[in-house]
Symmetry: C2
Subunit: 219 residues, 2 copies
Amino acid sequence: MTKPSFAVVLSGCGVNDGAEIHEAVLTLLSIDRAGGSYQCFAPDIAQRDVINHLTGQEVSAPRNVLVESARIARGKIKALSAFDASQFDTLILPGGFGAAKNLCSFALDGPECSVNVDVERAVKAMRAQGKPIGALCIAPVVLARVLGDVTVTIGTDAGTAAAIEQMGAHHVNKSHGEIVVDQAARVVTAACYMLDATIGQVADGADAVVRELVKMVGR
Amino acid sequence: MTKPSFAVVLSGCGVNDGAEIHEAVLTLLSIDRAGGSYQCFAPDIAQRDVINHLTGQEVSAPRNVLVESARIARGKIKALSAFDASQFDTLILPGGFGAAKNLCSFALDGPECSVNVDVERAVKAMRAQGKPIGALCIAPVVLARVLGDVTVTIGTDAGTAAAIEQMGAHHVNKSHGEIVVDQAARVVTAACYMLDATIGQVADGADAVVRELVKMVGR
């Protein structure tokens, strides 16, 4: 019995312009606690923007998504262009504005958003191989845009839920620690910090998604 | 019964030039799970250096310790100069090179290191009020330098252990998830990523330190 292997797709390092750090770290912890292994990936592209997380103001010094994601991954990360779906059992996307700014353009374009080419390729490759995919927080919008007919949750935000429906997907309201499992699409989602959550509630959400993915992998 | 209140002192955002992100996040999770509350702090100073975590190379664009720490704290952070020991039950220092580069100069100066003035003031104020202090990974060197006669662990690294002894403190070798408790000094330490650890083992270490601090606070 080999460990279930996770590809974790990061989108920078910091809630306002990258991957939400707690969601990313707690995803890695949940994978480890569930007996899985993980490899982090991120697109090798410039960040959409760089936000000073103390003031909330945009700053002009550019940063790279892969390079900043490497902070969360402690250097053990690969460019998403090198992702090979045959090497992994499942893929998971933590949230943060980076998922809606760097992995796709949802933060700017809403339901008309475009998806980064490497992200789209990775998601489609997993789907083609019948492998389960997880997403936290705002990241389910990426799956809605790429997969279309999929049922997800981003919590209870009505505007985002409506945008998800506009993309041909379906939204279900969920609270802390709850997940939506689309068995047909093999997609598992949880709201995490899309709700006003404590770090413990975010850990519960990440953990529930990871455990469901492990169950779907069936090892 | 009020919640035990933790001051968490961060040193940037990323293992090689700031706070170790996993240790910082897992400290916050452990505090929440233990029923505590937390407020993050960091010194409002330039980082000693900025390291590209993908390549390991130093880069020239400067970053600020408080501003980068705000990424881990999701913006809810204060300058350490505003720290008031009377408002907290306990203080904890996660690790990462930032603890040895930004909170003190140990990474450059070893046992002859100087300690940031706000860090020294915070540690001494907690000590003066008889309140317990925790430290993970390399951060115990800060306590060794400020407090002198204190018993700590940074794991099993002989060179660092010797430097701790040179500062007038005492070192005990410890493995994953183990802590050293100095009851007289009211100091609790664990090695975390100073050992070749998994993220789960780091969570165990942070959790053991936080639970011991809660016990010492006695609520």
